[in-house]
Symmetry: C2
Subunit: 321 residues, 2 copies
């Protein structure tokens, strides 16, 4: 029997997004031992991903740590059981057998997950959704998506495509979304949507963060933000009525607006729900780090050591989306 030096064990956790590939080594105590980030290339994404993973494994070895598993999470339609990324517009991927590629190039156990569902796992184990069976995590960044978790488990959908809350129709015949549909929720609520709608009213090129900073002193900012809060409340009313979560967790960079988002959204949600109470609506504790933390949890889970997270203390520093 081999006695494992558990304190030396780490996993490689990678959040593969359309803009950046964010990798890290995470220890069994939840410590981030090393990080490495690369811009997502237009082509040969898997080569860049493998270079990043190799770099992290080398860093682990240099620190006397053993890499026991790796996990890569991606956006899009992900079939977690086969490890195939069915469709990811941000990566320009269609039916990419990511797990098989990783397995053929790595000699450690490896797993593939969905970025937002992995973030949901992280919020459930370590974040704002502990101690509840039914919750919905909605990370809002450039766009938005949802991790839907019920008492029986995460809702993945028939094609691994559940959780596309950013594209539910909120306004009949509303403004055009980048996806080609009209009146999608993220037209009104996302970072990109708020910035675009503000620019259309007032000109300029402000980010959603800059627009939030102008609330109370810029009528256009107030107006666009109020419409965002109303649209988000409508989306949350839909989630509440369909899914009855105990908690809705708002995450992503957009949620860093804090009370400026939470207060109007919860007020409008209460107005929309006449005959039932609203669930708790809270801000994520993990922020933009939730996907990467979720990937680390998936990596430990794939070697049957998910229980390590029971003792994790979260890093004080969080990585914004």
């Amino acid at each position: 029997m081999t006695v494992v030096n558990t304190l030396a064990d780490v996993v490689v956790a990678v959040d593969l997004g359309g803009t950046a590939i964010k990798g890290s080594l995470v220890s069994e105590t939840g410590e981030t031992v090393a990080t490495s980030t690369r811009s997502t290339p237009a082509t040969d994404i898997i080569d860049t991903l493998m270079e990043l993973i190799a770099e992290l494994i080398a860093a682990a070895t240099a620190h006397g740590r053993t890499v026991i598993a790796a996990a890569v999470v991606t956006p899009g339609m992900v079939d977690e059981s086969s490890g195939v990324v069915v469709y990811a517009s941000n990566l320009n991927w269609k039916n990419v057998p990511l797990l098989a590629e990783l397995q053929s190039r790595l000699s450690i156990p490896v797993t593939v997950g969905h970025d937002v569902r992995a973030a949901g796992l992280a919020e459930s184990r370590l974040g704002a959704a502990q101690d509840v069976d039914d919750f919905t995590l909605i990370p809002i960044g450039t766009g938005m998506a949802a991790a839907i978790v019920s008492a029986s488990g995460a809702v993945r959908g028939a094609l691994g495509a559940a959780g596309e809350i950013g594209h539910i129709p909120i306004v009949q015949g509303g403004e055009l979304c980048t996806c080609g549909q009209r009146g999608c929720l993220e037209v009104y609520v996302s970072g990109a949507g708020v910035a675009r709608r503000y620019a259309a009213r007032a000109g300029g090129n402000l980010s959603s963060r800059e627009i939030v900073a102008r609330l109370g002193s810029d009528a256009d900012a107030d107006s666009v933000w109020d419409e965002a809060a109303r649209a988000l409340a409508q989306g949350l009313a839909t989630v509440t009525l369909l899914l009855d979560p105990a908690v809705i967790v708002l995450g992503g960079g957009f949620s860093q607006a804090g009370a400026a988002l939470l207060h109007p959204v919860t007020r409008y949600l209460d107005e929309l729900l006449v005959w039932r109470d609203a669930p708790d609506v809270v801000l994520s504790r993990l922020g933009g780090d939730a996907g990467r933390v979720g990937a680390a949890l998936l990596a430990f889970a794939c070697v049957d050591r998910l229980e390590v997270a029971d003792t994790w203390v979260l890093d004080a520093e969080r990585v914004p989306l």
Copy 2:
């Protein structure tokens, strides 16, 4: 060891609704041995329910059958694990410990379920959602609700209140719903909603069935029905994007419109979903009988004999909602 005469075994299955209490004896081969229906009284509902169950048990005995279990399904917020009906507006019930009441008065195993989720079980075992893990059943009658089933199981919600699709907001600031909210889906799509909206345009007091019969020869009927199809498509787009079901099953009396409903709804749904395919949208095979069949399945399940349904052949005659 007791040798059970399985062919003689039956269960009592009761669909307790706001209008009627529909009970039946169902055999292990899916045969409906006897039925009994009573109007739902304004008060003392449980007394009437118990009389109906006693009548069915007496009928079983008279036919030489043994009642091995009973199940009662109700609308509203139902906590299936405790058997408490948390809230059911149609029954004027709040925190009614239905399971405990039934257990105290019956000497056979008994269980309590949610009418629409039980119907979802029936569609899954015997109806239009066989062989799929992820589906949504939407019975549309006077109002509408949904049973949401994913690969990991039925979504019940934190309060047993999941599936209230009839009250998701479809039109911002839209027409007033009987629930007190505005622009709810069932304002536009349900039997009551279509009848009310037609009467507001054209007068009279036609049922939704009569309105469907006028399609093609009555511009008001065409208009109200088209708005219903558009609203339903918008609701189905939301369900598709959030939950990614393989199949959406439309049930209830409203779905008896058949192709007059299915054709425009699927066309509008295809128009709304630009970047992903629509799931299959099909009509229920069980119709208004799904809740009662589901109750029978729950009764067999509570004595660990759910597998009996594998051999059921559905009754040719279906009970409309």
